[in-house]
Amino acid sequence: MPEILVYAEVQKGEIKKGAFEITSKAKALGGQVSACIIGKDVEGLAGELGKYGADKIYVVDGPEFENYLTEPYVQALAHVAGLVNPSIIFISASAQGKDLTPALAARLKVGSISDCVDLSMEGDKVIAKRPMFAGKAYATVEALGNPQVLSIRPNSFGVEEIAGAGDVEKVDVSLDTSKIKAVVKSVEVTESEEPDQTEAEIIVAGGRGMDNGENFKLLEELAHAFGPTATVGASRAAVDAGWIEHGYQIGQTGKTVSPNLYIAAGISGAIQHLAGMNTSKVIVAINKDPEAPIFSKADYGVVGDLFEIIPKLTEEIKKIKGQ
């Protein structure tokens, strides 16, 4: 039975959904599952991981971990890895996880596999499937070192309730401060409750057809009607026009996403955009041009004026949601 260590990321005082996804996946793969959470005042959260398959939960808690910084987090997680001696480490490929994973692997002198979307076991080794070229191709990859370190794309696996022993142990980590050269001066997080595009279950994205930045309000209203698991996205054309920040861009030079529902409004469907959202479970295209390439990839197509259709759709969704 492989010993799997899962890093459980905490954000805004809660363990992220992606952490539960990889914890229950680790359990489902037949592992002995340890989880590690790092932060300030996070000890009280630890027990919850037991419900999703964690047999043991290591807590690294202290003021020095209030804001994420690569080096202290690498030291803390490497310390816990030293206690657990895992053969596999899973980290959710969130913004933080993407920074932490290769740095941790390098510290442990092994390789890592980024952004895995599927996993299988061959004996005690995990084999991963991951997108390349923003999803234009998929590679089956094996990490040769011990431990095998993998970051797992959010939304790749469901959160399953599988009981683990759930023993919580607090761990003291004495940081080697000589290696901590960077300092966090300030952190600014918008109050919005919207999930990150890579973690959202529903994305309402706008492209060149939005005409200006102001009109993205229509998409925000629609996303809002869908509820807290929905957010807004954009094509490169909309970002390059300066209508919306780059953090919203979906596609090969933006984010690769696979939500349950992707609504593309006024997006023609350039190849680098399609690559970034191709694995969405359901794609809706709304475009006034019936020849737009996006329609060939869409499960539902609506030819028409998005400025008329989106507000009406918002009303309909509110009705369904009983708002």
Binding site: D99, G111, K136, T253, L261, V282, D305, I320
Partner: protein, 259 residues
């Protein structure tokens, strides 16, 4: 400020990816190759810092003969010199770890205050090389940078990086490694005179053996596949926008069951 910029040559983002005959990699025939788009932001930032405060910009690139085109693009943007680790065999099987080992070996003999990389290469999308480089060179690494400022004494960088739902401002003493995200700057188009001048700028060519390193990859690609082709679904019809919106909402709710 002296900078090193790591650049990689990748297939143009417009490329339709096909697999090679044995399914172990992509079919490279007919591909248009470009400098990795995120590396353009890295080159631009290094050149801007040079223009502000002096110093030199050195490019380091691992790749076969044709990667020289990406190097020339960077030189045309304003970089001064380049090291081309021209080792087709090594480059072909190099994973992020092996790539970082080769780059680190080339970089350790250079003078630099900052190393800039793109946040990821848009071919393998791993986003790992800069972090491994930091470990190998024992330097701090700040990823996903969208703003870079040098302190007045030139010894510290104050950078803004993207985090989930916002930004963090990080101060770090130099030397350090930074990965460039879109939004850091607007990369320039090289003018024709700059392109001509770039052809005369010095490019040192080395093999991995010259650098005295050997690195076995730590990850291995066992096979590749293409995603299943999505098929066009159904068109939602209706007399007007309201009718179409209602029909769409109904389909999403009752048929697709996503809401």
């Amino acid at each position: 400020m002296n900078s090193v910029v790591c650049v990689k040559q990748v297939p143009d983002t417009e490329t339709l990816i096909k697999l090679n005959a044995d399914g172990t990699g992509i079919e490279t025939a007919g591909i248009k190759w470009i400098m990795n788009p995120f590396d353009e932001y890295a080159v631009e930032e290094a050149v801007r810092q040079k223009e502000k405060s002096g110093g030199a910009v050195t490019l380091v690139c691992l790749g076969p003969d044709q990667a020289l085109d990406a190097i020339r693009s960077g030189l045309a943007m304003g970089a001064d010199t380049a090291v081309h680790i021209n080792d087709a065999e090594f480059a072909a099987k190099a994973d992020p770890y092996a790539t970082a080992v080769a780059l680190a070996a080339a970089i350790k003999d250079l003078e630099y205050d900052a190393i800039f990389c793109g946040k990821q290469a848009v071919d393998d999308d791993a986003g790992q090389v800069a972090s491994i480089l930091g470990e190998l060179l024992d330097l701090p690494v700040i990823t996903i940078v969208i703003k870079f400022e040098l302190s007045d004494d030139g010894k510290t960088a104050i950078v803004t990086r993207e985090i989930e739902g916002g930004h963090a401002v990080i101060e770090v003493p130099l030397p350090a490694i930074f990965t460039a995200q879109k939004g850091l700057n607007e990369p320039r188009y090289a003018s024709l005179p700059q392109i001509m001048k770039a052809k005369k700028k010095p490019v040192t060519v080395k093999t991995v053996a010259d650098l005295g390193v050997s690195a076995e990859p730590m990850t291995v690609i066992k096979g590749m596949e293409l995603p299943p082709e999505r098929q066009a679904g159904k068109m939602i019809e209706g007399a007007d926008a309201a009718a179409k919106a209602a029909a769409l909402a109904k389909a999403l709710h009752e048929e697709a069951e996503v809401i």
